[in-house]
């Protein structure tokens, strides 16, 4: 059987010195030799664009792939709020150690301490790098950078560019990438989707892609491959992810032997616009910053059909303020989400289909005046009004939690390498930094840390050992077998000739995953999901309808493969959630809660990373554990009361 040992390769010594010492101890590739190595970078979001640009600046030959028509469209662009940086510009007691501590605690003590410390250290460099590139962060009148605060933190360390921080950071990385393209250091392939990861003797050899315009299936060989392909939140179908966000790259790597860690750690963001009908294709996030001035409430009575302005104060339940007096409406995301679900499930939801809670600005408008409130949130209010036709200055917003981010992902060691030598995973695609819950403004930080600073350093340690060795060529049978399998898949999907679209099955799958593996989970539900998902998948494989041709543009064909991967992943999410007999962060098992209804961890039995190995279709995946050791931060109950 399997002989996998999960060696995290975490350096020893004081936590503050680990990254510095590790950089010194790693092997280097000299500048003249760097051009002898080809690195494949898949995905052009923050992690991918940053890594591709930086590796090319260092002198590596980079080939970069994205399924978008331009690297600038990756979904990092939609991040609104900001990026954390432990600069302590506000003199409010922030430090690298505090950001490290907040992130470990926010992750409910399920992340790898050394990685998180490195992330906190690099947060400072990221801000400097982005400013040098021309990212127009918000400024104060004197010309210094402005900061705001975010959920789960008591300092102001979040840098932002209006409500479009992700866009501006991505444009910075995209522009650096395009400069390297112009210099001939990066070969950029747009509208090109990864469909397989190729290994030879257990080592990453390259990838197989499909050109989404011509339909050509091609092989690409590289000394190392970086998957920067984002998370899997679309397993729920309705999420704040983009329509095309998918798990395919990570999942195909998983099926080639890469372990998938903590798939049940998914983040449900509390402030999204509730679904309005069965045609809804995605959910829209309203920035967490709204919770600074909005008060969340529902009627005290069930089925209270009065308009919000007709419900007097004494009939309202400000449930977050009531239950968490010290953090109030700024309780962390997982807690705010679960409480909203609870009141809606009780039958106290609001809106036409009773599926939301109010986020009310009336009190702030009274205190600050209409102008101040509109200046702060006007762009969000406009977006809300475009979608719902309701004006939040006049009546409370309706919000409800939605799938937003996935903390789980491919297992990686301290170098961000998966258990397949030469295959790396960066950004949301890996599992390492956020534990069981991610704090706001930390995703951008992690994507850029991995892309600009971590992988470009750690990759030399691996490549140095390959100097003088010829890589596996694309004429190798490892590639041709994979190409044949991918082509077979294409023909097979079209040949099914069923009656229902891939979209239909994705939606049905999403309902199961959301109902049983969403904000709350329990044993019965998860077992039910584990029987319903394979049954639905069987129907999908027999009855899906993909029209058109594999040559040329075919969006149904693109979709069907992604849905097939979501089926397998959805099953693994449920299996992981069932295995983890505790509650932590975004993973809330109803059986494991404190008397007050909060998440109850079991550090004695579950302080480990659960990494799953694919054992073939129809065979249950096997679990491998990486124990989590906390030397610098002592795990405590995560209280925000």
């Amino acid at each position: 059987m399997s002989t996998i040992t999960l060696d995290s390769k975490v350096p020893s010594g004081p936590i503050e010195d680990r990254w510095t010492n590790h950089k010194f101890n790693m092997k280097l590739v000299n500048p003249a030799n760097k051009r002898k190595f080809t690195v494949l970078v898949v995905g052009t979001g923050l992690a991918g664009a940053a890594a591709a640009a930086t590796l090319a600046q260092l002198g590596y030959q980079v080939k970069c792939f994205t399924f978008h028509d331009s690297p600038r469209r990756a979904h990092s662009i939609a991040a609104q709020g900001g990026i954390n940086g432990a600069k302590n510009y506000k003199n409010d007691g922030d430090s690298v150690h505090r950001l490290f501590y907040d992130t470990v605690k926010g992750g409910d003590f399920r992340s790898r301490e050394s990685n998180v410390h490195r992330l906190a250290e690099l947060s400072v460099n990221i801000i400097d790098q982005c400013v040098a590139q021309g990212v127009p962060f918000a400024r104060e009148y004197g010309g210094l950078l402005d900061n705001r605060s975010f959920g789960g933190a008591q300092v102001s360390r979040t840098f932002y560019a209006r409500g479009q921080t992700g866009q501006q950071l991505l444009l910075g990385a995209y522009q650096a990438l395009m400069q390297q393209v112009s210099l001939g250091n990066v070969e950029l392939h747009t509208k090109t989707e990864l469909l397989d990861v190729v290994t030879k003797d257990g080592v990453a050899a390259g990838i197989v892609t499909r050109d989404l315009v011509t339909g050509d299936i091609r092989s690409w060989a590289g000394h190392a491959t970086l998957l920067c392909t984002g998370g899997y939140g679309n397993a729920f179908y309705l999420s704040t992810n983009a329509m095309n966000s998918n798990v395919t790259a990570s999942w195909r790597a998983h099926k080639k032997g890469a372990l998938f860690a903590n798939p049940c750690y998914t983040q449900i963001h509390p402030t999204c616009i509730p679904a309005s009908d069965e045609f809804q294709s995605k959910l829209t996030l309203m920035s967490e910053s709204l919770r600074n001035d909005g008060r969340i409430w529902v009627p005290k009575e069930f089925d209270d059909n009065r308009a919000p302005e007709n419900i007097p104060e004494e009939d309202r339940d400000y449930f977050l303020e009531r239950k968490y007096p010290s953090f109030g409406n700024l309780a962390p995301r997982d807690i705010a989400s679960r409480n909203a679900k609870q009141v809606v499930d009780e039958g106290r939801g609001v809106g036409p289909i009773k599926n939301g809670v109010y986020l009310d600005f009336a009190e702030s408008i009274g205190r600050l005046g209409e102008n101040v409130v509109f200046e702060r949130y006007g762009n969000l209010f406009d977006m809300y009004e475009r979608i719902t036709d309701e004006n939040p200055m006049k009546m409370p917003m309706r919000i409800y939690p939605a799938s937003h981010y996935t903390m789980g992902g491919l297992w990686v060691d301290y170098n961000l390498m998966t258990n397949i030598p030469g295959l790396y995973a960066l950004g949301e695609a890996n599992f390492s930094d956020h534990g069981a819950n991610r704090l706001g403004a930390s995703a951008l930080m992690q994507g850029l840390a991995d892309g600009y600073f971590v992988a470009p350093n750690t990759i030399s340690d691996y490549l140095a050992g390959l100097l003088g060795k010829t890589p596996v060529g694309t004429d190798d049978p490892a590639f041709s077998t994979s190409v044949a399998a991918v082509q077979d898949d294409m023909r097979r999907w079209i040949a099914v000739g069923g009656t229902k679209s891939p979209e239909y099955y994705h939606r049905e799958l999403g309902k199961i995953v959301w109902d049983y593996c969403g904000m709350t989970r329990d044993k019965n539900g998860l077992e039910k999901a584990l029987s319903e998902i394979p049954a639905l998948r069987e129907e999908f494989e027999k009855n899906v309808r993909v029209l058109g041709d594999p040559d040329g543009i075919n969006q149904s064909l693109e979709k069907v493969g992604r849905v097939a991967d979501f089926f397998e992943l959805g099953e693994l999410m449920c299996r992981d959630a069932l295995m983890r007999e505790e509650s932590c962060g975004g993973h809330f098992r109803v059986e494991h809660q404190t008397e007050e209804g909060e998440a109850k961890r079991d550090d004695e039995n579950f302080s480990f990373v659960g990494a799953w190995k694919w054992e073939g279709t129809g065979t249950t995946s096997t679990l491998h554990k990486e124990p989590l050791v906390f030397e610098s931060v002592k795990p405590v109950e995560r209280s925000y009361k």
Binding site: P71, V131, P136, R386
Partner: protein
């Protein structure tokens, strides 16, 4: 509500293309325009017809992937709104809605409503960046940027690269896109070292692909981010200056 859709269908770049008419029923006010098309596509698939190819991704108005000419207007009738954020309550029962791809020589149609906008990337590649290799730049707060300059750079940087400005322009010009990127970088202190080279390179690359600007102003009307044409004036001024400055920097006065 019920609508009659006239949709541009084109199987590939070499196909001349044609309009198809689809009767669509039971369209809900709260649907987005693209969700309405999703439903049309589901029905087409159910009837055994190939669905309409169109681009979309974030559906939050920020990625710039979607873009349709709706009744001859880029991104449809609502000002400052991308196609994905346009909702069906802006239409009325019985209306005929014409849906076309972006129409511009620089954006060839790939299939149905999907076009190739890689000419935009070529403009960025020619100079739309600040050279700052990853490494040890100085502390972020050492560069003081007046709030008014940072805000103005941000107004320009809000461009999502959707191409509506080009599609709306009778000349198929890309002045608004190019000037927005130039203003973003040229207004910041970090962007000064490369300002004149950037301006000359980007404008000349733009002219290789796109038509000329004759001040119609349609671009700013169509722009979903409401980027003003003031930036075009700034670009024109900088382009003229760059012709002298670049030579002066080389020592050719």
């Amino acid at each position: 509500m019920n609508l009659t859709l006239k949709v541009w269908r084109q199987s590939g770049p070499t196909d001349p293309g044609h309009f198809e008419t689809y009767e669509t029923t039971d369209v809900k006010d709260e649907m987005s325009f693209l969700e309405m098309l999703d439903v049309v596509n589901e029905n087409l698939i159910a009837d055994g017809h190939e669905p309409i190819t169109f681009d979309s991704d974030c559906r939050e108005g920020i990625c710039g992937t979607c873009g349709l000419m709706i009744n001859g207007q880029a991104h449809g009738p609502q000002k400052g709104t991308t196609t994905c954020q346009l909702h069906m309550r802006k239409f009325h029962d019985g209306e005929t809605v014409t849906i076309e791809p972006w129409r511009a020589a620089a954006f060839p149609v790939l299939k149905d409503l999907m076009v190739d906008r890689s000419a935009f990337d070529a403009i960025i590649e020619s100079g739309g960046f600040i050279t700052a290799d990853t490494g040890g730049p100085r502390d972020a707060n050492e560069i003081l940027i007046p709030k008014i300059a940072a805000d103005s750079a941000m107004d320009a940087a809000a461009c999502i690269g959707c191409g509506a400005c080009v599609a709306a322009c009778p000349n198929g010009a890309a002045q608004l896109f190019t000037s927005a990127k130039l203003a973003h970088l040229n207004l910041l202190p970090q962007g000064q070292a490369e300002r004149w080279k950037r301006t000359e390179d980007m404008v000349e690359t733009m002219e290789m692909f796109f038509g000329s600007c004759t001040n119609y102003g349609e671009c700013q009307e169509a722009c979903p981010k409401e980027i003003p044409i003031d930036f075009i004036a700034m670009m024109n001024r900088d382009f003229l200056k760059s012709k002298f400055k670049n030579r002066k920097l080389q020592g050719q006065r």
